[in-house]
Assembly symmetry: C2
Homo-oligomer: 141 residues x 2
DNA sequence: CCATTACATTAGAGTTAGTCGAACGCTAAC
DNA sequence: GTTAGCGTTCGACTAACTCTAATGTAATGG
């Protein structure tokens, strides 16, 4: 199967701009062109792009992803380095998920707090003492 | 309690550059200055910064956080809009965590795959057919 | 048959959220 | 009294997109 840049963008949930950016930066080396110079993508390119999206979404810089691609093309002798890269990315992603869960707890608290105010329609009693002053403004975040 | 910009940076796990950036962009309106024009932060500023860090880490743009701060300062009548903002952020964060878990599964697969190659020291048999050619290069990502 | 639509291309400018360097000021210590 | 160590401001730089403008080709439609 082969696909246009728009189809790929749709499939991968990224913009055509981003795909061109990755291609221009040498991260999609197997992408071919049709007779009008339009990019054509096959399933292998999709697979590659999927990895790029995965690594980017988990915070790997574009340059580092490029390096990873180079390693893959160099052959099996680079497996140990690739293993280390994926290990690092695994750990980074785990701690990112942990961090997000903590932030989510904070947000949940806010949601519940505001829901409570709306439901009971009573004034906010959690203003920190150093913010409680003559003003009637509700500065509680 | 009051703190220097370095102490705050340490406590919050962000750089002094970032703190100045937020302050310069009006997101820390209560921060005072000492007699040498140095920023001094109190516990309330820390609380605020904590919310900023939380919202940024979960993907809210700086401008939107600024708007949220404005709402807080406007008083209780803005609670419904704040509630909606936090609801949106809650959903966004939940789907971000879901996405990260999916990406993590992909990375886990790579880690296991490479670990297997290293352990058994045998060639990579998962090269997609369209990448398998005369070259000895191992193009398996 | 030629125009309009729809999509592609490129080069390059703009955006966001920092990140950093340079030039400088204050204060405390040797 | 000068050097170290903190802070300041302003402005330049970066990453990773994101978009605009100018241009080209291919299919549809009066």
């Amino acid at each position: 199967m082969s696909y246009t840049i728009h189809e790929v963008a749709q499939k991968m949930g990224i913009s055509t701009y981003t795909i061109r950016y990755y291609h221009d930066h040498g991260m999609l080396p197997f992408v071919k062109r049709d007779e009008n110079n339009n990019r054509i993508f096959d399933d292998n390119d999709l697979e590659w792009l999927n990895i790029i999206v995965c690594l980017r979404a988990t915070g790997m810089p574009v340059e580092r992803i490029h390096h990873y691609l180079d390693l893959v093309q160099e052959g099996e002798c680079t497996v140990p380095e690739r293993y280390e890269m994926m290990k690092t990315q695994q750990e980074r992603t785990l701690s990112e998920i942990t961090a997000l869960n903590k932030h989510l707890a904070t947000i949940n608290f806010k949601v519940d707090h505001y829901a409570d105010i709306i439901a009971n329609h009573k004034p906010d009693n959690f203003v920190p003492s150093n913010l409680r002053n003559a003003s009637t403004a509700d500065r509680t975040a």
